[in-house]
């Protein structure tokens, strides 16, 4: 891919990739990093794009891979910090650890914070469908799985989300807590 094409692609698709990264990561700083890294991969490996799919589905694939890698790193970091955490006195452990994620309050109050507790496949399918508005066929292309699997992940992801809400004891009417929002549609 020519640098000029990369510029154009970046200009055209950066906002949507950043939005997906924000929903996935829960804070704008990590979202910035993820989105920039996605386009860095585009700059480095743009010649691998064969044009058989849309550019943005290819970019979503890169983003999800990067997000998966970051989550794995974060999990390992938490595991290492857990060793130190266990050796601390109870008073010290009341303070938030350095390995704690820095999600913003808006994200924590939103349903996406609950979606983050679902499996990778369900979480990614829900992001691509309800945040990015992709068609089932496009999601299947991004996730490289059959169409039926996509629908199944979306359906069971929503069902799992519902279970999480029930376990939290939250009334759906209290979700999300954005002021001035019409909640009449919520169950």
């Amino acid at each position: 891919m020519h640098p000029l094409e990369i510029d154009e692609t970046t200009r055209e698709h950066f906002a949507r990739i950043h939005r997906a990264a924000l929903v996935l990561s829960g804070n704008p700083w990590d979202a910035d990093d993820l989105a920039q890294e996605t386009f860095l991969v585009l700059a480095r490996q743009g010649q691998k794009f064969e044009g058989r799919s849309s550019v943005y589905t290819w970019l979503y694939g890169i983003l999800l891979n990067l997000d998966r890698r970051e989550r794995r790193r974060y999990g390992m970091r938490r595991k290492k910090l857990r060793v130190l955490w266990d050796n601390q006195s109870p008073d010290e452990s009341l303070a938030p650890g350095a390995g704690e994620a820095a999600e913003v309050a808006e994200w924590k109050k939103s349903l996406w914070a609950r979606v983050a507790r679902l499996s990778d496949g369900q979480r990614q399918a829900l992001v691509l469908r309800f945040s990015e508005g992709l068609r089932y066929e496009e999601i299947a292309e991004v996730l490289e799985c059959p169409l039926g699997t996509v629908k199944s992940r979306i359906f069971h992801g929503l069902a799992g989300l519902r279970r999480i809400l029930e376990e939290e004891g939250d009334d759906a009417r209290q979700l999300p807590a954005f002021p001035g929002e019409d909640l009449s549609h919520a169950v």
Binding site: D7, L22, F155
Partner: protein, 194 residues
């Protein structure tokens, strides 16, 4: 206990005729709320295109430059390797051809020649006139014929006086020194030709 397939819930989600998922109301509401939350987050924390774009563009250009430099470096390396290979082949071929043309270059043949020379030198008075030895050819004398070819080494007939030389009495280092003297061009030797 007998296997009852009804215990396993079907994995296939319900679909409408148009292929869309037929979500129950409570799941449809969750789906709608997810979309609203994503839109709200996006509005609250919008992307900052200028900084991101410049960075991405710079990275793209740098990546392209690095790639071009890498290609050029590889091309130069390949060219150098090709030249080196050709040169190595040429040198090897020359060595082989020279060795074939001059059998005395082979260590074994050289030792055989030395042995033969030793045996002939230690037998006095036997066909001394027919023996040949490689001696340094002196530079062409000042009064010489201009068109006469002048190889550095030439075969000359050894005179009767040279038969008195007993190579068998020489040690190894002395033999090497003798060969060095024979192969070296020396002004002293040149003066002999007069």
């Amino acid at each position: 206990m007998r296997f009852d397939p009804r215990l396993i819930h079907p994995d296939e989600p319900p679909e409408r005729a148009d292929g869309e998922l037929d979500l129950p109301d409570h799941l449809a509401a969750l789906a709608e709320q997810l979309a609203d939350d994503a839109a709200h987050l996006s509005l609250k924390y919008p992307a900052e295109p200028p900084a991101q774009l410049s960075l991405a563009a710079r990275l793209a250009r740098e990546a392209e430059a690095v790639k071009r430099a890498g290609h050029a470096r590889r091309a130069r390396l390949l060219a150098w390797l090709s030249v080196a290979t050709v040169a190595a082949v040429a040198v090897s071929t020359s060595i082989v051809l020279l060795s074939a043309g001059n059998p005395a270059q082979s260590p074994r043949q050289l030792s055989q020649a030395v042995d033969a020379a030793l045996s002939e030198a230690t037998v006095p008075g036997q066909a001394v006139a027919s023996r040949t030895a490689r001696v340094p050819h002196p530079p062409r004398p000042l009064g010489g014929v201009p068109g006469e070819p002048g190889p550095m080494l030439r075969e000359v007939s050894a005179g009767p006086g040279s038969a008195a030389l007993s190579l068998g009495d020489l040690s190894g280092p002395e033999m090497e020194a003798l060969f060095d003297l024979l192969h070296r061009e020396s002004p002293d030797v040149a003066s002999v030709s007069f």
